[in-house]
Symmetry: C2
Subunit: 180 residues, 2 copies
């Protein structure tokens, strides 16, 4: 059930490349007034790609924000004119080089609801076909594709080798579907 905060005063708004940043003064449902910062994000899609042998496809991707390469499932921002499903379909192709025959919607997650409205829709992709000429990646992406068994993914989460929250969440959401 939606409960809208009352907007009292706009203070700052900046439209960036992938999201907007804003600070406003609100009256919250509990009557408290506060100046609150928020990222307004168009949302994203994440895909857990499962190969015919039951392995999962992950990416080792450079992230400038944390100055290191981390393991993630293919994911990206919903662009203008896209649905979460079409973003999912595009990102699997661009980032992993596979075309998914079947994409099944699993659920939605919020990444940082304390300061961002970003919702990521999680999908499970099967019937993968390796593309002979995959579409070009976004030019600022720096990605290596790898496969891992579901058990290896679970172990990598426990050992701290997988640290991306949306990736860990997605694995938890599909665990009962991919663990054999």
């Amino acid at each position: 059930m939606l409960e809208l905060p009352q907007l009292l005063r706009r203070k700052l708004f900046y439209q960036g490349r992938k999201f907007a940043y804003e600070i406003n003064r609100y009256r919250l449902p509990n009557k408290v007034e506060a100046e609150l910062e928020c990222i307004r994000h168009p949302g994203g899609a994440l895909v857990v790609p499962v190969t015919a042998s039951g392995d999962l496809i992950l990416l080792r991707q450079y992230r400038f924000t944390i100055q290191r390469r981390i393991l993630e499932f293919p994911a990206g921002t919903i662009e203008s004119g896209e649905t979460a499903l079409s973003t999912a379909d595009r990102e699997v192709q661009e980032e992993s080089g596979y075309k998914a025959g079947t994409i099944r919607q699993i659920g939605d997650i919020f990444l940082a609801p304390g300061y961002s409205d970003e919702m990521v829709t999680i999908f499970l992709a099967t019937e993968l076909e390796k593309m002979e000429t995959p579409p070009l990646q976004d030019e600022d992406e720096d990605i290596e594709v790898l496969t891992m068994t579901p058990i290896a993914v679970e172990q990598a989460i426990r050992s701290g080798d997988i640290t991306d929250s949306k990736t860990i969440s997605a694995f938890m959401m599909v665990r009962h579907l991919v663990m054999v």
Copy 2:
């Protein structure tokens, strides 16, 4: 292993209440130059509190960003002078009203590494004692405390009743320790 991007030009910097927002032009390790937006966040701590009977304590918390109440484990931003552990200890008391006898560090996660450097350290808290006079919550918080069995948490993740990514990630990371 850290791989630093080369900072070419600072463009925008705004220091907010809980985090800073910046846009800079970088040369990435793959030589691409790009203008990239980033949230600089001091980091956070999340606690999975386990009662003597093996139940988990969660909060139903109002989030103005997404205009609704969602289920989350107690968590908060690391404040000046705090360690992740002392933040964890404080947040359990403020948000749930329990004092933890033992707090064990489980691991670190990144919430949105595409545009934020926020790292959240996950803890497991046991030997909980209900406080007679819990410390005051932050004034803009609006929180209800509840307990759920680990199986109920797993079902709530699958059914879409738990959608907070750090909460789902934390459950995945402690699942083998709390499921009996």
